[in-house]
Symmetry: D2
Subunit: 138 residues, 4 copies
């Protein structure tokens, strides 16, 4: 079963571009993270709430395939799906599209782990967060 992904949009700024006059390849990972932040805000929490409980969400793997260059002023839609929801980690798949033309710009994934700030060890994702992520997972 394929669920509707979480969708959010962002505008490419001048500072996102490089001398090739396209979005710098590392900035797609910033866009991805912004989508993740919007997703958590939509679900009713933030990285800060996680931090306050003594946890954080380090990234352990990130992958991107670049399909077409995004340019200054483009409106980009980021689609986020919970591809794998494990006890201690989440794998988000993403697609980025030009919102006006529908052209696919990039796709990939990121794997994040719930970690204890003190011990730096992976820990189970708190139950309330799991419950909030479930409706978006396959």
């Amino acid at each position: 079963m394929s669920l509707t992904p979480f969708k959010t949009a962002l505008r490419v700024t001048w500072a996102d571009t490089d001398a090739a006059q396209v979005v710098h390849y590392a900035n797609y990972f910033r866009f991805l993270e912004r989508a993740e932040e919007d997703f958590y805000r939509h679900l009713g929490f933030s990285f800060i709430d996680i931090t306050k409980r003594g946890f954080w969400f380090p990234r352990v793997e990130a992958f991107c395939q670049y399909k077409k260059p995004a340019r200054f002023n483009d409106l980009i839609e980021v689609e986020l799906t919970v591809e794998e929801l494990r006890e201690k980690s989440v794998k988000y798949g993403f697609r980025m599209l030009n919102k006006d033309t529908g052209v696919l710009l990039a796709e990939g994934y990121v794997v994040i782990v719930m970690a204890d700030k003190q011990t730096q060890k992976a820990v189970p994702i708190p139950k309330e967060i799991v419950e909030k992520l479930k409706p978006f997972s396959k």
Copy 2:
């Protein structure tokens, strides 16, 4: 046969870090690109020379596994290897280590394509560049 990788070092700056007090995950891709730039400088050319000939080197795939966080002021050694040298593309493997402790921080790869700036199509990598990359490829 395994060849000696190209090695270069860089210092983590304050601006590379984020509120988790570690290097922001997208910045490893900036570090990787800096290593690639140093590599080309070592080989005697730069992105600019490529650009002047009407080409550029867009990234088509990027992957990183994060092993241990890098922090402000850390000296990072980036090792670059030419994992695949194809007619129109190059796959660079990389490893990033804390230069003082030898701890592995991250590893992954990037695939870049030689493209024509006008047509945006992939083209064969110029022979002189191929010759310069060969000694570093498997």
Copy 3:
């Protein structure tokens, strides 16, 4: 006479922060530029339109006073005013406030010049742009 400034809002992302757990000081200038981009979009043009006519808007001076730190997830309101509208340059004053609390975070200005891309010399700002900026200038 004091005119109503142009106002726009943006959300602080994780990538905007540094290891002091506040927005990195250089990023206020990125926020300022985003506000300027939103302003032009509001007026019906973009940097790209300017570029297509053979011009660009290099910054010649930038100044910021930091009042209170902005943090991850803060919603920031940027107020932009046309402080000086000269033949070849514009001085924008700005204020950034926490949109939820009203606390002043930063204020300052930026001076930009209309320049010819070929000659790199300052040129008069095109009349249509002057007309669009006038209602926002003192």
Copy 4:
């Protein structure tokens, strides 16, 4: 009396540039901070040492005049001078030059304050740091 400034050099990377094919204006402030970090390293301490003592060095004012654009691959020399050394703050003046051509690219200053991390109030700069900065101040 004019003292010799602290000098350090850095290479412009692709990620520092924007679609105008020059260094993005906010990145000069990153370069300035890197020079400050190199300066402290030269003096035998780092932001981290300051942090461990419960202090930090927030920026309260930053100013830059942009003279000539810096471009990808340029080698930039940053000159740093201690323009004012006060009880609780330091004003650094800076100049950035193209190291190969000697052309002045940018100049300006930054004012930083020694602050207590807990109270967020300005505090006197520790005596050992004052002693280290004195030889570089007017």
